[in-house]
Symmetry: C2
């Protein structure tokens, strides 16, 4: 679990009671889950909780090593209090570096900004799965379905001079894949100009059931 917001943790309730798995997260997200009694529905005899440290590699499954690292983001919406910072770097929003031998992939479903440090970290990867929430910062307003901007939600927009496609220019990555698209994002529709632009820029738009091989 790379984030404590509802789109990342509510699915745990669907896995409740009788499915065995190990739940890896940062200490902060582990604490959030621990303090919320609804997650007691995950039977601790079947679901081991493993808080891990940032930037410390660990074996996720045999022959697959993972490492969590901070990316700019914010605390979960339902935990917001007082003045909001949307580009915090800590244990609340993380990327995952996955490696098996020389093969390296990164999974970053939420990211508020591509810092120089993050650019350097991604350089040379075989694959990056990256936050593709919105095409434009204000698309939810433009479509009349919500008032929040991508920025307000802690997400970069794909398009524009400061957008994700532009920000990834010059980073050496074999395969780039957008994940975590909001239902307002026009790249979801294969017939749109935005989809064509994203693909022409070397990005794949992920879809349900997609399998990726590194």
């Amino acid at each position: 679990v790379t984030n404590g917001d509802i789109d990342h943790i509510a699915g745990l309730l669907t896995l409740r009671e009788s499915q065995c798995f190990t739940l890896f997260s940062t200490g902060e997200i582990a604490e959030l889950l621990h303090r919320n009694r609804i997650f007691d529905a995950l039977n601790r005899d079947q679901v081991a909780r493993r808080p891990v440290l940032l930037k410390q590699a660990f074996e996720l499954v045999p022959n697959l090593v993972a490492e969590l690292y901070p990316v700019p983001g914010k605390v979960p919406l339902f935990m917001e209090e007082g003045e909001l910072e949307t580009d915090l770097q800590g244990e609340q929003t993380v990327g995952v570096r996955l490696s098996s031998g020389d093969a390296v992939a990164h999974y970053i479903p939420g990211c508020a900004a591509l810092t120089d440090e993050l650019r350097g970290h991604l350089d040379g990867a075989g694959m990056v799965l990256f936050d593709g929430t919105v095409w434009q910062n204000n698309e939810m307003q433009a479509q009349g379905v919500g008032e929040k901007t991508g920025e307000r939600m802690g997400h970069m927009a794909i398009s524009g001079q400061e957008g994700t496609i532009a920000a990834f220019g010059g980073i050496d990555i074999e395969r780039k894949v957008f994940v975590h698209m909001n239902n307002t994002n026009p790249v979801l529709d294969p017939s749109t100009e935005e989809r064509r632009i994203a693909e022409a820029a070397g990005w794949t738009i992920s879809e349900d059931g997609m399998e990726l091989t590194l």
Copy 2:
């Protein structure tokens, strides 16, 4: 919301943020939702929370009156503490009486026992939607998918001398419908003997998208 357990409340998280509705529940369930911060994702400007008193009719929508009443049940699994009672009667598990003019329907998705009081309350109704979780008390064990009995979960079994079909004998109800079936319940399969028995006893097995007219 007639119950505070996860199968009744987790769906609220899918309705989060931008859908307007009014959430009616008992005070106890309202308190459980209020105390759990994950439900702060339901924006209070869009989702009005209306705790209601047991046995006090209220207008659910224009021309549709509702009334909540206690049925035997238990506290939510994730709130269990100490010795467990599975047939409490209070604000934790309720039925709903719905009426529009002379037409009366009852919705009771969880019920641990059909008390004489409840039998009297249902008598004469046009429709009852009732807890059909399990066919046999131990079917989850028998199918190797879980250790809990229906009784442990606060549910009557459909079959058997003490079961729901038998218990409804002699109550005057025009249409009886099973809801809330567990995926282990053989009545879900139209080809089973159990389905045939339930239908022969006057019960309809509900399904996704079913529309009922009273």
